[in-house]
Symmetry: C2
Subunit: 200 residues, 2 copies
Amino acid sequence: MSTSRDAVISGSKAAARLREAAVEVFAENGYGGTTTRQIAARLDMSPAAMYPHYKSKEELLYAISYEGHDLALEVVRTADLPGEDATTRLSTVIARFAEWQAEHHRRARVVQYELTALTPEHYRVITGLRRRTTQVVRTIVDAGVASGEFTVPDTEGVTLALMSLCVDICRWYPSGRYNEPHAIANLYSDLALRLVGAVR
Amino acid sequence: MSTSRDAVISGSKAAARLREAAVEVFAENGYGGTTTRQIAARLDMSPAAMYPHYKSKEELLYAISYEGHDLALEVVRTADLPGEDATTRLSTVIARFAEWQAEHHRRARVVQYELTALTPEHYRVITGLRRRTTQVVRTIVDAGVASGEFTVPDTEGVTLALMSLCVDICRWYPSGRYNEPHAIANLYSDLALRLVGAVR
DNA sequence: TTATTTTCTAAGCGTGCGCTTATAGTGAAC
DNA sequence: GTTCACTATAAGCGCACGCTTAGAAAATAA
């Protein structure tokens, strides 16, 4: 089985449009509640249009899931600035991660809630990517504890909570006055520092 | 349309067993990915066994969703002790709510992630129950701010985050050393007080 | 016991599913 | 202009879906 990015998601224009259309429909109806005909219809194509690009509905979900988790990992990695103090690092990383979750909430919903529809092999690849994203946050929490900036009851638990807060955005977003990605970014970077007991 | 508890969920023993079986299968495969035959098979019954009790698959999901949200609301209401100070109230309510989410994580997953499969009328009833649960937490946050116990950047945002943390438990539980409801209850009641800036 | 209601099954209807096959169109390379 | 790989379609296969119906079995009431 291929696990490298290019091998999984296919670079052709039509394949990208298919993933985009599928995200919309999966987000609205769930993977099991979506038909391959609906995806094709969204692009005004024939019912069989998906098959030259993905050999099954599950392969399409896998490509979407891979791309989504890969992008999220990239966002978090790019946002982290290991030269800075832990307070700045955490604040920035959580802001960018939360912002991304809000901005791409439909895609996020699919890649986070439909994982159980993947084959066991594909599932393992995706959870591997997710673990690497969590590790970035955990490393910052550890650094803050080591430097005395943070006081936490338990690194594992606090990291879990930080990730959980951000990942759950796609379930409720938008809501009330939190209907702009930057508003959530501001709130969550503040709340993250509270969770780790950062001295300000 | 009926919206009272007894009218929705049906008290018969067989109906209760059907809801229980359906929760298991829905949690594993999603609503759209589950067949009525699977639910019946889990109880060693014929494919049509559901229909004397619920007139459609959607009605069964509605009954499950209603019961689940009704129970969660009851848990939160019972845990709240308006005579106490806000710090104690928040700590207790979050502990019990988080504990419930962990204990009933399969049921919680169904009632929180499959809501879009409900008819618009049924959906509205459920979100009404959910709003009342959120309101309990929000009232405590408001009380803490009024008494000077809490310092929050924004009541709405912090309440959102508190609920989000607890609701998301069903997505990841169990994980690592957080595989016991009481462990999550302890962690989350602590983290909740951090989120509201409680003076200790 | 008998009468009545409720719960279940056997059988199957009509529909729409994921996916395949054979073939036609399309654009890039030369 | 021809070749060739790629991308799309039309048609349809076999299957399993949600749900219905008629009636049997079981539980309840008289």
